[in-house]
């Protein structure tokens, strides 16, 4: 009784505030975004410009990277021109919702609460785990060693709150990775929490010889690209699912990994094997 009362009250209150996008239903596909892209002859994709090597700037200012190559492939398949817009973790979903971008390939981790806002379609094209870069001198060996200690991180990363809640670490979030790494150098924190592949490439660069990545990666969280929520079960969503399946099967992503210097992951190799065409001998 009380529950239905609350629900009625909430519905009445929310009536004026509801900004929820229309629920996609295969029977009611209007395919607005697809039609818009086709008629304008231009696909606008939101990509990261601050996450090397998935999306970053070159000296001329153009955005390049693995995800941009993927976006170019999508545009070529659709037969339209590609336009990339730099997005950040804080605004990538809004831009998609508002229609500023038609497609989002921006290193976004696939999470349940995000699926309610944007149309994340599978199969997931990549995955990454959380790890830390810590000084060798501290001899950190397990995640519980971080309990109560200050750990530097970048604002907006979803694992910041997981590390805080699960392991009791105190995450100090900085606006950029350079600031976080400087704080680590200044000994303001005992470790830097980030993606294991980025930490790996930093350690192999030779500038961090006093540091190591001692823990086992946690939370292998697959990434998801997203179309507007209304398109999820319609042409655009199904098309992107097909693109991802083909990328995984043909090994195109493995080739891109190699091109951009990312350490080969078992994830992509495993998917290629799993999706092997039965006629391929």
């Amino acid at each position: 009784m009380f529950n239905t009362m609350t629900r009625a009250a909430v519905a009445a209150a929310a009536f004026g505030m509801v900004l929820a996008p229309a629920m996609a239903d295969a029977a009611q596909c209007t395919n607005d975004t697809w039609k818009k892209v086709m008629s304008r002859g231009k696909l606008v994709v939101g990509v990261k410009a601050d996450y090397k090597p998935w999306g970053f700037r070159d000296k001329s200012g153009a955005i390049i990277g693995m995800e941009i190559d993927m976006a170019q492939d999508v545009a070529d398949t659709m037969g339209v021109k590609l336009e990339t817009i730099a997005v950040q973790s804080s605004n990538r979903m809004q831009f998609l919702e508002q229609g500023k971008i038609d497609l989002m390939i921006a290193t976004m981790s696939d999470r349940a609460d995000r699926r309610k806002i944007v149309g994340i379609v599978g199969p997931n094209y990549y995955t990454s785990g959380t790890n830390v870069m810590a000084p060798k001198a501290l001899k950190i060996s397990k995640w519980s060693d971080l309990k109560g200690k200050p750990v530097c991180g970048k604002q907006g990363a979803f694992y910041n709150k997981i590390v805080t809640e699960r392991h009791g670490a105190k995450v100090i979030a900085f606006t950029g990775n350079a600031e976080a790494k400087q704080a680590l150098r200044d000994r303001k924190c005992i470790a830097w929490v980030y993606d294991d592949s980025s930490i790996g490439s930093d350690l192999s660069s030779g500038n961090w010889d006093d540091f190591e990545m001692p823990l086992s990666s946690e939370d292998d969280n697959p990434w998801g690209l997203a179309v507007p929520l209304a398109e999820k079960n319609c042409v655009f969503g199904q098309f992107m699912s097909g693109m991802q399946h083909n990328w995984l099967q043909s090994g195109k992503l493995i080739a891109l990994e190699k091109k951009w210097g990312i350490k080969p992951t078992a994830f992509l190799a495993g998917h290629k094997k799993r999706l092997k065409d039965w006629l391929d001998k």
Partner: protein, 251 residues
């Protein structure tokens, strides 16, 4: 009651996925908001108290017969009155902060003895204190010399005359200007965000970075809380001012 609020906002999130008032139904986020709120309040209160103390002491020193205290106070006022508070904040934290001694609780991390909250309090108190010195000084000068002479002739030392006669009158007369300065101070404390002081806006920023669905509710809350805080301060200051107003003085 609390349960009702929790379920109300959870249901609201179900109906409107962009209006996730997560800090009302999730305990960790609520604690974050509360800690940010307390840091803001603590920053404002401590800065107000310290700046008033600095103002009183400085005004006293400015009337000293010796040259050195007068010069020190004058130099202090010139520096802090003529530079923007944002620059002072950055200067204190980055330049002076480099030279603070550190201690190490675990053999590796270096923790400075004055944290960024400490530097924010120091910087903002000194900033507002410089204006308070001038405000109190002009209040003291509104007390005619004959009154001080009368106090002296009654056998009071200079300090006693200051505490019992001169300063209460000066305070009452300079109250409107003081109120203005203190409200300005509270508005300026939001700039402490630049040196990562975990105040209210910083915590909300963290919340909407972690939970993009809580963006609109966070913005709404920040907007109304700030307007509310400043509004309450202005109204209570005006009330106090009106109670202590001397009719016909200074119109």
């Amino acid at each position: 009651m609390i349960e009702f609020i929790r379920t109300f906002f959870l249901d609201l999130y179900e109906v409107a996925p962009r209006w996730n008032f997560i800090f009302f139904h999730d305990k960790t986020q609520w604690e974050r908001v509360l800690s940010g709120f307390w840091v803001t309040v603590e920053l404002s209160i401590l800065c107000v108290i310290f700046s008033v103390i600095i103002g009183i002491v400085g005004a006293w020193l400015q009337g000293s017969k010796l040259k050195v205290p007068r010069m020190i106070v004058q130099g202090y006022i010139q520096f802090f009155r003529n530079t923007p508070p944002f620059v002072q904040l950055l200067f204190f934290y980055f330049a002076l902060g480099q030279f603070t001694p550190t201690f190490s609780p675990d053999g590796w991390t270096q923790v400075p003895i004055i944290s960024n909250v400490g530097w924010a309090i120091i910087s903002l108190s000194f900033f507002a204190g410089a204006f308070n010195v001038e405000i109190f000084r002009s209040g003291i000068e509104a007390v005619p010399f004959s009154t001080q002479e009368a106090a002296e002739s009654l056998g009071m030392s200079r300090l006693q005359a200051y505490i019992y006669i001169v300063f209460p009158l000066a305070f009452r007369v300079s109250l409107p200007a003081l109120n203005n300065n203190l409200v300005n101070l509270v508005k300026t404390t939001t700039q402490a965000l630049a040196i990562a002081v975990p105040e209210l806006l910083y915590e909300f920023l963290g919340i909407w970075n972690d939970y993009p669905s809580a963006l609109y509710p966070s913005l709404t809350m920040v907007f109304f809380i700030y307007i509310g805080l400043v509004g309450i301060l202005v109204i209570s200051m005006n009330r106090w001012e009106r109670a202590l107003r001397i009719p016909g003085y200074g119109t």
